[in-house]
């Protein structure tokens, strides 16, 4: 508690010396469909101008298939592709990874990690976009501010995403 108060004062002047953290929880829902493929998911942070401030995670098929490499379908993550993906050299260390199964996926990003290290103070939005082969596409957003103030929020997906929660820990 005392540390929190101290931070509240010092945080206005400098970045805290100890790690703040973003805890992101993304639920990939179980779907009752005849043909199921794991979704492609992109998780990123947007600034007030809706520009990508940091990519947190991108999950896509890492293999080659007869139809092409998994990167072929990345443009289906339409907003992420437009705002960031098409300008990236893939794979991105610490960001891209294979698709994930149905369930809860907990991710933590410390303020000293490359994604957040250079994030200027301001209002941001956490965006989670998911798209599934022969399925749909969905995008959910949760606003937050940085540097970290204790905050938690959630957003509910309706089709391709379940509950998405964000906890900001100073």
């Amino acid at each position: 508690m005392r540390a929190t108060v101290l931070f509240a004062v010092s945080g206005l002047l400098t970045l805290p010396a100890y790690a703040a953290e973003l805890q992101v929880n993304v639920e990939i829902p179980k779907l009752n469909v005849a043909e199921y493929h794991r979704p492609y998911v992109a998780i990123w942070i947007e600034d007030g101008g809706q520009k990508v401030a940091a990519n947190l995670a991108v999950w896509y098929q890492q293999r080659d298939t007869a139809e092409g490499h998994g990167t072929k379908w990345l443009p289906d993550l339409r907003q992420w592709w437009r705002k960031s993906g098409r300008n990236l050299q893939l794979p991105v260390d610490g960001v891209t990874g294979p698709t994930r199964p149905v369930g809860q996926h907990a991710l933590k990003f410390g303020s000293s990690q490359p994604q957040l290290r250079n994030l200027p103070a301001g209002d941001y939005t956490l965006v989670v976009e998911a798209v599934r082969e022969v399925g749909g596409r969905e995008l959910v957003k949760i606003p937050f501010s940085w540097p970290a103030k204790a905050q938690s929020a959630s957003a509910q997906g309706s089709t391709e995403l379940g509950t998405v929660t964000l906890a900001v820990k100073p």
Binding site: G68, H69, T71, K72, P75, R78, Q79, R86, N87
Partner: protein, 268 residues
């Protein structure tokens, strides 16, 4: 029958005459791609409904594909069927490709032995085939461009540089970065210079499944610019025609200019 033949002739030269209200178009299978060398296929046809094949294929005589580095690349598997032409293109470079069917030509009418004569060709064949003393000779020149754009990976602008001849449309932004509900500004050029007062007709595809064309009509302002807010996602057809007297053949009094672009607008 005679009309059909005339129409076929007009379309063969890709000259959209106002009398034939058919729409000529190119339609790429995809406009935003990723990969080291993905393929697209492109349909080319002339129709009333967008983008359905009826009644005529678009001739691919003036087809030119400009790669992201500005070089000209060859499409493959080119074929023309009863209703449509088709070709494939492998996107071996990263960036934006410009796919265009261009045309330029001359049309003449005159009287011979009291009967009307019609003729089409180019400057060289005009010298050979049209009599110098032709009675009531009327000559018009035409310059047409029908194009679309596809991007592999990150968009670039090299292939989008205006050619500087005829009517052209430049997206202020990028033609493969269009989203429903957003505004896009365009600049209209004639011979590479901004042109005011050019009216564009903009129609979203799938016209067969609705009861109105729902066309958007916009005219370029004093700076040659206009803006469109895309009402819905879809493949859009944009057309403008105009005419002036900047002909390259002295006998031609009028130059008809036409432009068509097919642009894909993605959902948010």
């Amino acid at each position: 029958m005679k009309r059909t033949l005339l129409l076929a002739a007009a379309i063969a030269l890709a000259i959209p005459f106002s009398a034939a209200a058919h729409k000529a178009w190119l339609r790429p299978s995809q406009t935003v791609l990723a990969g080291s060398d993905p393929w697209i296929t492109v349909d080319a046809a002339v129709s009333n409904d967008l983008f359905y094949f009826n009644p005529l294929p678009l001739r691919l005589d003036g087809l030119m594909v400009t790669a992201p580095d500005g070089s000209t690349v060859q499409p493959q598997n080119q074929a023309t069927g009863k209703f449509r032409s088709v070709f494939d293109l492998q996107l071996t470079q990263q960036g934006t490709y410009r796919i265009a069917v261009t045309s330029s030509g001359l049309a003449a009418t005159w009287e011979e032995d009291g009967k009307p004569r019609r003729w089409r060709g180019n400057a060289a064949s005009f010298e050979r085939e049209v009599p110098r003393d032709a009675k009531n000779l009327q000559v018009s020149q035409s310059v047409g461009r029908n194009e679309t754009f596809v991007t592999n990976g990150s968009p670039n602008y090299t292939a989008l540089k205006p050619v500087g001849e005829g009517l052209e449309l430049v997206a202020l932004g990028h033609p493969n970065d269009l989203f429903a509900g957003e505004e896009t500004r365009f600049r209209v050029l004639v011979d590479g210079k901004p042109a005011a007062g050019i009216e564009f007709e903009i129609v979203r595809g799938e016209t067969r499944y609705r009861n109105a064309q729902d066309e958007i009509r916009v005219s370029s302002d004093a700076n040659g610019e206009f803006a469109v807010t895309w009402p819905a996602a879809g493949m859009y057809w944009l057309e403008a025609t105009t005419s002036d007297d900047r002909t390259s053949v002295p006998q031609a009094r009028q130059r008809r200019l036409s432009y068509v672009a097919t642009l894909e607008v993605l959902p948010q």
